[in-house]
């Protein structure tokens, strides 16, 4: 009986479920912390102190640290979350109830599913081979991300339509138009990366872990062998730039948030939503942002490698040589180190999102369309052509 229980608890299926739950448990708090950081960064940029009142009584007893955490506003995460949970969750009378409730739930599905194909760290097995930490190491990798994350737009359309009110409806129409037009350029902009890593004669893959592996080379002097250490962001700056702009558009962040622009659409698709249902949209949006930043870092900025030409493997090797401690090459330590580096990069990226938010004013809807179709799309196609020809010559 007991053995049976253990065999169930350690079955591959169960382990996958643990990993999935763990990823969700990480994504949710990060989304919460991001919302808090958003408020705090917004305040700092606007020369105000920002949220700094909420505190848990027994933390208040800790001298200095308690006060510091209070001023930093960390407890407002709980206050906000608690408020969202316990608010009256009203459903307006004029909506289509079933789809109205289904929309926020649908928003969560693509947001959390994409996490499964994004590697977030690595460790080395006995043979020194890098094993990526990933929920599902699929060969279709990035394709799966693109395919699933574009499903997110259905929840917006559904929310806008089910709300049975004109602002949400207009917002969801905008959402579908914007997401479709930017998805094109986004997909085309990453093609050079995969042309490069899928050199003739190798097994083809669209997996993101492979992309990072390609950016883990070391410095071999001024020879072509050193290419491997350069991050793709430096090799293909135009691709990185187009991807970045499209990422802003896809995640509805300023300056591309015409979808939910308060000024002309009240709140767009979530105008009629409140409390927990609104919170789900909110978390979904932040998850998109986190996953998007993660993919951007994996594709163009070396994933969990600290610096160009300085891959994680060398860093760990040096640490082991200098200190001589055995635990520095233990897979657990390496895994945690790689996750920390990767997470640090993602958070830096999210900070960049916030800084842009307070720098660039929102584009008008027609400007968004013009940038998408008349600037980014031709640019990404030209970029693809140039790199395709160049790569054909280099890898001949």
């Amino acid at each position: 009986m007991f053995d049976f229980l253990i065999s169930i608890l350690t079955s591959p299926l169960a382990i996958t479920i643990y990993k999935g739950v763990a990823a969700i448990l990480v994504i949710f708090p990060i989304a919460g912390v991001c919302s808090m950081a958003e408020r705090k960064v917004a305040a700092w940029v606007q020369d105000r102190p920002g949220p700094n009142r909420a505190i848990v009584p027994w933390v208040a007893w800790i001298p200095f640290l308690g006060r510091f955490l209070q001023r930093l506003g960390v407890f407002h995460v709980m206050a906000d979350g608690g408020k969202m949970l316990f608010k009256e969750d009203s459903t307006p009378g004029h909506v289509n109830k079933f789809y109205f409730i289904a929309a926020p739930l649908l928003a969560m599905i693509p947001a959390l599913t994409t996490v499964s194909v994004v590697p977030f760290g690595t460790y080395f097995d006995e043979a020194g081979k890098a094993i990526p930490l990933i929920l599902a190491n699929l060969d279709v990798g990035l394709l799966a991300v693109f395919a699933i994350s574009s499903l997110g737009v259905y929840s917006l359309i559904l929310a806008g339509w089910a709300s049975n009110s004109k602002y949400p409806f207009l917002g969801s129409v905008r959402a579908s138009a914007q997401l479709i037009s930017y998805e094109l350029s986004m997909t085309i902009s990453v093609l050079p990366v995969f042309l490069w890593i899928n050199a003739p004669g190798t097994t083809g893959t669209l997996g993101l872990a492979r992309v990072v592996e390609f950016q883990s080379g070391i410095w071999h002097g001024l020879s072509s062998a050193s290419w491997g250490g350069v991050w793709f962001g430096f090799l293909m700056p135009i691709s990185a730039f187009i991807f970045l702009v499209c990422l802003f558009a896809e995640t509805n962040r300023q300056p591309f948030d015409t979808i939910e622009s308060e000024a002309d659409l009240v709140g767009s698709f979530h105008t009629e939503y409140g409390a927990f249902k609104w919170g789900l949209f909110f978390v979904a949006e932040y998850s998109h942002m986190i996953v998007g930043s993660g993919i951007f870092m994996l594709l163009f900025f070396g994933g969990w490698n600290p610096l160009p030409w300085l891959p994680l493997g060398s860093v760990v090797g040096w640490m082991h040589q200098i200190t001589g401690w055995a635990f520095t090459i233990h897979p657990l330590f390496v895994g945690i180190l790689s996750i920390a580096i990767f997470l640090g990069k993602v958070l830096a990226m999210i900070f960049f999102f916030m800084a842009i938010r307070w720098t660039v004013p929102r584009f008008r809807y027609d400007q968004v369309m013009r940038i998408g179709w008349r600037v980014l799309l031709p640019l990404s196609i030209a970029n693809l052509l140039v790199y395709a020809i160049a790569i054909a010559f280099i890898q001949k």
């Binding site: 305040a43 020369d47 720098t359 660039v360």
Partner: protein, 179 residues
């Protein structure tokens, strides 16, 4: 006046990509990120009230402790949102201020109506009603937000008086120079 035709220069390529401007903007953003806050954290930090501030209207006494209002009701009349309600009363003959003859029996200012316009202060012939530096009036009920006479004097206190006009009038009367 001569007309100077200005030529509108076409945007350069760098300007049309919009990127240098964004970088410039990011620099400004970063500067503000580290700049100290310019706001006050209100209940703990209070703003400095400049002289001449128009806060909550109050009634004041003169340095001898006489209430200056003579319930002429001009302020009640002029008050745009009709926030003031006065019940005039008489001063009893055995009071040292009997020569002033009138004083308000009731004087209510409804702070839910008051718009802090200062008309009452401007119109008052006795300089008896002043908008002073109190800017924070709060209450939990409508009744609490109506300042009655006692509260108005408590808020107002005493202000210096250079004229003492009623004392002069009394002295003139006693010296046979009444007007």
């Amino acid at each position: 006046m001569a007309v100077i035709p200005l030529e509108r220069k076409p945007l350069t390529l760098a300007e049309r990509t919009y990127l240098p401007q964004i970088l410039q903007g990011l620099k400004t953003t970063m500067q503000h990120l580290v700049a100290p806050a310019v706001t006050l954290e209100y209940p703990e930090q209070r703003p400095e009230i400049p002289t001449g501030y128009r806060g909550v209207p109050t009634l004041v006494k003169d340095p001898n402790g006489r209430e200056k209002c003579v319930s002429c009701q001009l302020c009640e009349f002029v008050c745009p949102p009709k926030a003031i309600r006065i019940t005039p009363g008489e001063i009893s003959v055995d009071s040292p201020n009997a020569h002033v003859e009138k004083a308000p029996k009731e004087f209510d200012i409804d702070m839910l109506r008051c718009i802090y316009c200062g008309m009452c202060q401007e119109v008052c012939p006795e300089e008896a009603i002043w908008l002073q530096s109190n800017y924070s009036m709060t209450g939990l009920s409508r009744e609490e937000m109506v300042n009655n006479k006692a509260r108005l004097y408590e808020l107002g206190g005493t202000l210096p008086d250079n004229h003492h006009k009623w004392d002069k009038k009394k002295a003139a009367e006693e010296h046979g120079n009444a007007h």
